[in-house]
Amino acid sequence: MFLSNISLYDFRNYRELNLPLERSVTVLTGGNAQGKTNLVEAVALAALARSPRTQQTAELIRFGQPQARVTCLVQRESGMEELDIRISAGGRPEQARTSKRFQVNGRARSATDMVGELRVVLFWPDDLQLIKGPSELRRRFLNTLLTQLEREHARALTDYQHLLEQRNALLKAIREGTQSPASLDYWSDALARVGAAIMVERQRRVLELQPLAAAFHRELTDDREHLELLYRPSGARVGEAPPDAVAEQLRAAMARSREEEIGRGQTVVGPQRDDLEMRLDSRESRLYASQGQQRTAILSLKLAELHYLAEATGEQPVLLLDDVMSELDQSRRERLLAALEPGPQAMITAADLHDLPGSFLEQAAIFQVEAGRVHA
């Protein structure tokens, strides 16, 4: 699988762009605020059906314009696919709902059915918070990987989010006395069923990802450190339990927390509270790892993600490296670049080309990004 072309209309600071891409490495360079990250964001949007940068879709439309469009051409063994995303601004402020429309080869798709047509691994400065930052970042890491592997998972997450909003609305209404708890059990039940499916999948995938991450980490630390990934589900012990048993545990956990849940107007157990723990030599790295150790562990995790996605799908994902080169030291940079040979298609941004070794640049297609335009 590779991305052979990307075109943008009124996306972020791009008025119009049509950029053919090489199968190998593309380097995007240029000063600050010129549009390097915006371009990477557009590719991620086409892959994930959502921007990894913002929830506010309206931000993606070029200032003052009614509509933005991103079109990607994906070449795969089975033929070529055109992925098309149109984002339209809502009308008046009170209806300010931007809409996203997706098409694959000219046929409409839902967001969930779009994910997986183009697969990416994104590594950018935000990821450097993966260990010390809030657990939401680690759940997002899992979601991004898992939804690209299995469309069912994307569907389950969407359903779960919807059920969670309904159940939380009911909990608040019960607290405020505007609704009776009569229908709470039905929402708990549905939530537990979908939640259990998500948790079982997370457990399975983390177990498969773990040996890859450990191996990369051993290599990066010259055998000195052992990295371990542990899935930490909320409200249930997953292990090898079947989905029904996990759902039962979640139901029981909700029943136990009933008072707390009503008091807070919020569901306090379930996949929305899960975490992914990373341990270095059996110590929780969130608490103990140094800056350098964190960076190495995160790099190991990202390399594992890249390889796992390729292994599990039989297709190389596109690697998007935004600005991370300047964040890594010489030796980690070299390790990362070594992973690209013979490797996947990659888009790498760097404000400063000196962050990349000369030998590497010789083989890459280099583009200058300047005020929303791209030239060789």
Binding site: G91, R92, Q95, D159, H162, L163, E165, Q166, R167, A169, L170, A173, T178, Q179, S180, A182, S183, Y186, W187, D189, A190
Partner: protein, 199 residues
């Protein structure tokens, strides 16, 4: 900026309140009506007024009716031992189009949806229970939409109806999940009826 006359702004605002009509469409419709001959605009206005004057909800099943009761409740040919529970009047029309169903209906006027502030109390559920106590119904078909709100509503109803000792079944899921009944095609809907399962 040029002022738009009040009468036109008001019409655009009113049209813009309708479901599925955004500001652009409201504008286009308003200017279209401005160009339309007077008598056809008056026919439209008359139809709107008559709608509210003549049509109401059936006091028994909450489907649309011209009098106290709807045509279905009044019809001597319907089988009163079987009752189909739906969310909206439009669902009744969709089921009627299949020609497969000859029982009567009960329209809940919505589905349980806490986000929209709709709980069991906001629906015609108490009326349904009272009706089942009163009338000799042998089977209730729960034909709420196959989405999350419809499922929650059906589960809730199944439990409420259990003590009444009436047989309940759920419309078989040939229906697209997450879909809405009113958009299901006739064949799918007909199959869903014949394949319904005990709840």
């Amino acid at each position: 900026m040029t002022e738009v006359p009040g009468a036109l702004t008001r019409l655009m605002e009113e049209l813009g309140r309708l479901p599925g009509i955004g500001p652009k469409t409201a504008q286009r419709l308003s200017f279209y009506l401005l160009r339309t001959p007077r008598d056809s605009v008056e026919r439209l206005a008359g139809a709107l007024v008559e709608l509210k004057a003549r049509i109401r909800f059936c006091e028994q099943c909450f489907f649309i009716a011209e009098g106290d009761r709807c045509a279905i409740c009044l019809s001597p040919r319907r089988d009163r031992s079987i009752l189909c529970v739906v969310e909206e009047p439009l669902d009744v029309l969709a089921i009627e189009r299949t020609g497969e169903y000859h029982g009567v209906y009960h329209v809940l006027q919505g589905a349980i949806s806490p986000i929209d502030g709709i709980g069991p109390g906001e629906l015609k559920i108490a009326e349904l229970v009272a009706r089942l106590r009163r009338e000799p119904v042998a089977e209730v078909i729960l034909a709420t939409d196959p989405d999350m709100e419809g499922e929650a509503t059906a589960s809730y109803l199944a439990e409420q109806l259990e003590p009444l000792g009436v047989r309940t079944s759920r419309l078989a899921h040939g229906l697209p999940v997450g879909g809405e009944l009113e958009y299901a095609d006739e064949l799918t809907l007909a199959r869903a009826f014949s394949g319904r399962q005990a709840f």
